[in-house]
């Protein structure tokens, strides 16, 4: 029974991981907690109701009555000073002031910089004008169209997988290797005839073995709690996740190449991951950043991964159609690993 050293090293990595309850929680449990938290925060509650305030005065009761049965508005009647404070705090989007008598104009006070406030103003005005006798000149009808895969939670789940794989690959590689260097285990291993390539490869192999499990856990959970469906092929999701994790692990190796202690490694990993969590469309679309940084953002490995995965999961695209993001991932994986091996120190 002569087990290959590569398999033996990979087994050792897997044992170390599964015997560390903390590591298992951060890999599998934590992403589910984030999914639940964000899923609840952004759950579909029907169209959101918008809070507006009617300022107390002789016409307040009349105005509030006109608005109170609007399904999109949440109407309160408040004294002028309270209403003003709530408006400043953005607790209400709009205040409606009927003034002293019927001849005075109704005053809407709101921040035109807030799109929801402009929407609320329009809804309130329509309602009041209709009550005052305005008739629509054109006959219209509304139809609802909620696209599958078009909700926030549908958009968010693939990004969470990207975040999970990126942080898993970086922490799993960098932290453990630097820890082994700090404890002089790397030096001890370097004094044996062990192939050094096998040792580094064992991290990638062990990491990749957990990827399918991470994918299954996250998507099953998202499906049963939030009804998130994978529109594209499951096989493509697995293949892409493995490929992404392989690519990310190169960055982990790069963080681990020289760092002498785990504090430095922590810093490096955070330096790489945190900006990407913000820039690469994990929690909100990277489209919110100005146009001139878009090409840069798109070139980051997590953006490339998220873009490809969202196309597969939400739009049902095939992997073959995702050439550009796949090439970006390939490039990052190859370049980071090559540089890392050049810089790597065993002692």
């Amino acid at each position: 029974m002569n087990v290959s050293p590569l398999i033996a090293l990979t087994m050792a990595r897997i044992r170390e991981f599964t015997r560390e309850p903390g590591a298992v929680f951060w890999t599998f449990g934590f992403p589910l907690l984030i999914t639940v938290a964000l899923g609840i925060a952004f759950r579909d509650q029907g169209p959101p109701r918008q809070a507006v305030a009617v300022v107390e005065g002789p016409r307040a009761a009349e105005l509030a009555a006109a608005l109170k049965d609007d399904p999109l508005l949440l109407v309160e009647t408040l004294p002028a000073d309270v209403a003003a404070t709530r408006l400043r705090a953005a607790a209400v989007l709009l205040t409606i002031d009927g003034g002293g008598d019927v001849s005075a104009p109704v005053v809407y006070r709101f921040d035109p910089g807030r799109p929801e406030a402009r929407g609320a103003r329009r809804a309130v005005d329509d309602r009041l004008q209709a009550r005052a006798g305005r008739r629509n000149a054109l006959s219209t009808r509304d139809e609802t169209a909620v696209a599958r895969g078009g909700r926030y939670v549908d958009w968010m789940v693939p990004g969470l997988l990207g975040m999970q794989l990126l942080s898993g690959a970086l922490w799993g590689t960098a932290w453990n290797i630097v820890n082994a260097r700090q404890r002089r285990l790397l030096k001890r291993l370097a004094a044996t005839p062990m192939s050094r390539g096998h040792y580094l490869l064992s991290y990638r192999l062990a990491g990749l073995l957990f990827v399918p499990l991470q994918v299954v856990v996250l998507f099953l959970f998202a499906r049963f709690t939030f009804g998130v469906h994978v529109q594209g092929s499951l096989l493509a999701v697995f293949a892409l996740s493995l490929f992404g994790s392989w690519s990310f692990a190169g960055l982990g190796l790069l963080c681990a190449a020289r760092a002498q202690n785990s504090e430095t490694a922590n810093g490096l990993v955070n330096l790489v991951t945190l900006p990407m969590f913000i820039l690469c469309g994990v929690f909100f679309s990277s489209g919110r950043f100005p146009g001139f940084v878009q090409p840069l953002i798109r070139f980051l490995p997590l953006s490339a991964f998220n873009e490809a995965l969202r196309h597969v999961v939400n739009d049902g695209a095939s992997l073959a159609s995702q050439g550009v993001p796949l090439l970006i991932l390939l490039g990052w994986g190859l370049v980071s690993a090559t540089v890392a091996l050049r810089l790597f120190r065993w002692t």
């Binding site: 002569n2 087990v3 290959s4 050293p5 033996a8 090293l9 087994m11 050792a12 044992r15 170390e16 015997r19 560390e20 404890r183 002089r184 285990l185 030096k187 001890r188 370097a190 004094a191 044996t192 005839p193 062990m194 002692t347």
Partner: protein, 308 residues
């Protein structure tokens, strides 16, 4: 027979520290060789150069007739290493760790895990995680990993530092057994008793330089006498007063009296008492003990080994 290890003009310079300042040494095959010196003497640097883990600034290093820059892979397969305080895979068991290391060596050469477990008295702990082991057990595991590839040379860097006396003794027996099987053993230590018990020859190093080389008995002989006498008297005496007493080889002033080095106690001690009587002095304290390598180091450097 060719030497197991040959060092010539070895120098290791770190940024502003010279760890090894020109060292020539030869370790013979089959001997247990000790590198002795206080902390910071350059022992670990020297050993790590021999192990191929550190590249020397200058000098020749030959291990088993081979060179690290040309024959690294072959050498790594033929040596065994125990670093100073190695931390291993904390969550693997003793047996898993041994089996893992076994895969690194050529299957024909690698030793049987069961045999090594028995030899190192680790059989009872085979299923225990490394993190649950005591200091002595960890150190025995470290040595066990060192011998897994049945090495021609085993390096032990301060193998018993921090161990309780019982564990030290157990580890000494293990190392003696390896030595009896014909292995070359190179160890560093700052314990003189350890070197006296285990080593055929020792090299005493200080500030990266060799200051004495030989068997422990030889080195003790060289400082002039196997026995040391510490003497205090009610009337203070100068060293000159006893220097010419029969059997006394040297005498010097010590903290609270005299420190004498003597050859044969049964000759020197009676003569010493006679001389004290002649001078009208009574001994208030007299200690006679066998000289140790500690005394060798003290006489060579004027410092004790444990001073940092």
């Amino acid at each position: 027979m060719e030497a197991a290890i040959r060092l010539q003009g070895l120098v290791k310079q770190y940024d502003d520290v010279t760890a090894v300042a020109g060292l020539d040494l030869e370790v013979r095959r089959g001997e247990c060789f000790g590198l002795l010196g206080p902390n910071g003497a350059g022992k670990t640097t020297t050993v790590e150069i021999m192990e191929g883990l550190t590249v020397p600034t200058a000098g020749l290093v030959e291990v088993l007739g081979l060179r690290w820059d040309r024959n690294g892979d072959e050498l790594r397969a033929r040596i065994g290493v125990t670093l100073q305080e190695t931390k291993l895979f904390e969550k693997l068991t003793v047996e898993e760790t041994l089996r893992l290391f076994r895969t690194f060596y050529d299957a024909k050469r690698a030793r049987d895990v069961e045999t090594v477990l028995r030899e190192m008295q680790l059989g009872e702990k085979r299923k225990a995680w490394v993190q649950k082991l005591s200091g002595g057990q960890r150190q025995r595991l470290a040595v066990a990993l060192g011998v897994m590839g049945d090495p021609d040379i085993l390096f032990l860097d301060e193998p018993t530092t921090g161990l309780d006396p019982q564990s030290r003794r157990a580890l000494w027996d293990t190392i003696s057994a390896l030595r009896a099987r014909g292995k070359t053993v190179v160890l560093t230590t700052h314990y003189m008793d350890e070197a006296e018990f285990l080593c055929d020859r020792v090299a005493v190093v200080d500030h990266g330089k060799l200051i004495a080389l030989g068997s422990p008995a030889q080195l003790i002989d060289d400082i002039g006498g196997h026995h040391l006498v510490e003497l205090s008297t009610d009337v203070p005496l100068l060293p000159e007063a006893v220097r010419d007493v029969a059997g006394v080889r040297s005498a010097r002033a010590a903290a609270d009296g005299l420190a004498l080095s003597i050859g044969e106690p049964h000759v020197a001690l009676p003569a010493l008492f006679t001389r004290l009587g002649e001078r009208g002095a009574k001994p208030t304290r007299l200690v006679s003990r066998a000289a140790t390598l500690d005394d060798v180091f003290l006489s060579l450097t004027g410092r004790t080994l444990r001073e940092d």
